[in-house]
Amino acid sequence: MRRRALRAGLLLTALTTLAGCNNSQSVLSPRSEPARDISTLWWWMLLAATIVFVGSLSFIVLAFVLRRRRGAPVIGEREGTLNLVVILFGIAIPLVAVIAVFAVANFVVVASTDARPDRPRDVTVKVVGRQWWWEIDYPGTSAVTANEMHIPVRTHVDVQVRSADVIHSFWVPRLNRKIDLIPGEHNHVGIYADRPGRYEGQCAEYCGLQHANMRLYVIAEPMSRYRAWLRREAAPAAAPTGATAQRGERLFLRNACASCHQIRGTSADGRVGPDLTHLAERSSLAALTISNTPSNLARWVRNPQHIKPGNRMPGLHLGDRDFTDIVTYLRGLR
C-alpha cells in the first residue's frame, strides 16, 4: 500500500516538476504522519474512483456498440427483470465501497489528523488570524512574530488558533489538515514536521479583499536552533546604532507607525499590525506578499496600498529622507 502510494506520488512529483511546479504547499508531498495518511487515502480513493469511472464508461461504450444490433426496435419495450442489474450496480457495489471509505477515513485516518486533547504536545504555538496576516505567539515566552512560524522538527506542536476579526482558516497542507479560525471559538490543530524545511501555508477561508495574500511559512528546524531562535525572538529590540537609524526610530515612534505596531523595548506598543521587534529576521513582508529585501521594504513603507490594495496600513506623508531613515531603522531590527 505504501509502495504504490509512493510510486504514484513519485509519478506526480515528476509530472509536476516537468510542468514547472513547486510542491511547497502541496497536499501530495506530505511531511508528517497525518498529512501522509491523508495523501495515502487520496491515492486509494483515486484508484477506486478510476475503476468505477472506467467501468461506467465501458457500459456506455457497450450501449454505443450495441446500438444497431439485429432486430427492429420495439418502441415501448418492457424492462423484464433488469431491476436486479440496477440493484447490483446501484446499491450492492456502491454500499460496499462506501462503507470501506467510511471506515478507513473516519475511524483510522481521522485518529491521526484530529488534534485530540489526550495526545501530549511538546510545544504550543498561538496563532491569531487578522485581515490579512497571522500573529504568532509563543505562550510562556514574550516572543511574538508574524507570518513566519518556527517549530522544532520531529516534535508534536499544538497550534491554538483564534480570530481577531472575520473567519480565517489555518492550513499548512504538508503538515496536516486545515482548521478554521472562528470569532468566539478556540480551535486547535496538531502539526508535525518529519524533517527540517520551510513549509508554505495559506488562509483557506475567504476573508475579504486580500484573502489571496494571507500566507505564512512554517519553518521547522532542529530543537537547538529552534530554542536559540525563540530566545532571540523573545528578547527586546536592540537599540539602533548610527545616526540614521536613531533618527528613523524617533520618526517611527513619533508618527502613526507606533500606534499600530509593537517594537518591544520601545514605546511602540500598537497591536493592530504585526510585531516588528525582529522584523529584519523575517524573510518576507505583508504575509508573504513580497520578500523582505531593502528595496521591497522601502517600497512597502512608502506605498503599502500599491502592493497590497485594501490592507489596513495607510501610506504616510513623509519626506524622502524620513522614509529612508525609517527603513534603515527597520532593517536593523534583528
Partner: protein, 636 residues
Amino acid sequence: MAVEAGPNPVQPRSELLERVWTERRGVFGWLTTTDHKRIGILYFVTTILFFAAGGVEAVLMRTQLAKPEGTVLSPEAYDQVFTMHGITMIFFFVIPMTTGAFGNYLLPLMIGARDMAFPRMNALSYWIFLGSGLFVYTSLVIGKAPNAGWFDYVPLGNKTYSPGPNIDFYALGLLFNGISTLLAVINFIVTMFKLRAPGMSLNRMPLFCYAFLAVSFALVFALPPLNTALVFLELDRRIGTHFYDAAQGGDPVLWQHLFWLFGHPEVYIIVLPAFGIATAIIPTFAKRHMVAFPLVALSEVLVAFLGFGVWVHHMFAVGLPTVTTIYFAAASLIIVIPSAVQIFAWITTLVMGRPEFKTPLLFIIGFILWFILGGLSGIMFAAIPFDQQTTDTYFVVAHFHFIIFGAAVFPILGGIYFWFPKLTGRMYHERWGQVSFWVTLVGTGLTFFPMHIVGLLGMPRRQYTYAPDRGWTGLNLLETVGSYILTAGLLIMAANLIWSRFRGPASGPDPFRGDTLEWSIPSPPPAYNFVVIPTVSSAYANWDTEDRAQDVRRAQRGEGLLAAGHETPASTPMDGRFDELLQMPSNSPWPPLLALTLLLVFVFLLTGHVATAIVCGGAAAAVLGAWHWREPEGAA
C-alpha cells in the same frame, strides 16, 4: 407512435377553444399573460440572459487567473464578480431555468392539463423573479455588488467588515427572489397532485414530473432556513441585533448552519430537475421503457429527502466535535445509493435499448459522465480528513462544477435541444448540434478537470491572484483556455438555435417519437394545449397508440371538449380519477402590478426609507385586494 391530431376533422372544435383560450398579442398580452407556456418562454429568455451574465463573469475570472498577478480585475472587482457568478448561476439561472422555464412549459403538457393550478400566481412568480434579478443586478451596475461570496459568511458580511450596501443587495435580493420560487413550487405541487389527466394515477406520472415534485417539496422546506438566516443578517446590519456577533453572545456558526441547511438541499434542487430531463430524454432515444422505473422514482424522492441531513459536510473544518462530523459523513455517503441507482438505471436502459445518439442524448451521455466524475469526487469529501485537507481549495471548485455545470447544465442544454422543436415547431441543425456538444464537452473537461490538480497542489479558492513561483501557472492557463473553448461551444449552440428558429425545417408534432403527452399535440402547442383532455393508462402515454387514437375520435365527436370557458378537469391526488371541473382564471394585469409594488418595497428597504417601504407595502396589499375583488372572469 403518436397519432397526429389531423387539423381537418377537429377544426371547428378547436376554433371554439381557440377563441376561449387565445390571449392578446403584443407587449400588453405578454405583460398580462397567464398561459403557462408564455410564462415558461418569459422565464426561458430571462434566465438565458442571466446565464450570459454569469458566463461573462466566469470568463472574466478565468482571464484574470490565466497568468499570475493578473490585472484584468482589481481585488474588489474580482470579489464582486465571483460572488455575482455564484448568485447568478444558482438563483437566477439554474433554478428558474429548470423550475421556471422547463417546469412551467412542460409539466402541464406532460400531465395533460390546460394550465397550471394557479395561473395568475404563476405569472406573479415570474414578475417577482424578474424584479429580484433586476434588483440584484443594479448593484453590479453601480459597482456595489455583493462581495462576500454567495455563501456570505459572517462576520465578513456584517456591517463592521462590509459597511456598504453590497450585502444588503444580497440579503434583500435573495429574500425577494425566494418569494418567487416559493410561489412557483407550491403551484407545481398542487398542479401535479390535482391536474393530472384522468387515468394518470401517481404511478403513471412521468419520471420527469417526479423529479419536479421532489424538487418542489425540497424547496418548500429549504427556503425557510435561508430566509431566517437572511432576516437575522439584515437585523444585525440594520438595527444592531447580535444574532451572529460572538462578542455579544451571538454565533457566526449559526449562519453557517442555517445557510447550509438551505444550501445543501439546494445542490439536489439544482441537479434533480436535470435527472428529470435525463429520464425524459433517455427512454425516447433508447426507444424503450426506463429500467427500474419505481426504483428511479423512489430514488428521486429519496435524494431530495436525504439532502436535508448532510449540510454539516460543508463545515468539517469548523472545529465541530468528531462525533458530529462522523454522523454527517455517514448521511452524505447514504445519498450515494439513490444517485447510483439512477445512474445505473439510465445506463442499463441505454444498453438494453437501441439508442440513437442524437444531440439531446449526447448531452445526456455527457451529463452521466460528468455526474459520475463529480459524484466520485463528492464521495471523497465524506472522508472527513480528506475533506478537511481539500475543502476551500480548487479541488472543491472542480467537484461542484462537474456537478453544477456537468450534471445540471448539460441536461439543461440537452433539454433545450430536445424540446426546441416542441417550442418552435422547427428542427435544430443536427450536425451543428453535435459539433456544439463536442466543443462544450472538451471545454468543460479542460476548464474544470485541472482544478482538481491545482487544488491538490494547494491553491485555495476565491483568490484574485497568485504568485508566479507557486507552481499553479500552467494549469491555470489550461483552465482559462478551456473556458474559452466552453464559451465557443455554447455560442455555436446559440447560433444553431437562433438560425433554426427562423430557417429550420418544420418538425411536426413528434420528431423524436417521444413517450410523454407533450408529443401528442402540435408544435408549437395551441393555447389550450389539448383539444380533449387525454385519458392515460401508462407512464408512457404517447406510446399508447390506441389511447391517442381514442382522443382523436373523441375530439371528432366533440366529446369532453370543455369549451364553456377556461375549463380543465381536476382529478384525485393519488388515483388520478376525474374529480371536478375547474374554471381557470384568464389573463390579468394584477400580477405584474403586485410584483412592481413589492419591488418598490425592497428598493426602499435597501435605501433605508422604511416609512416609504411601508407605504409601498400598503400599496401591494391594495393591489392584492383588487386582484381578488372579483372572481376570475369566466367563472361559473
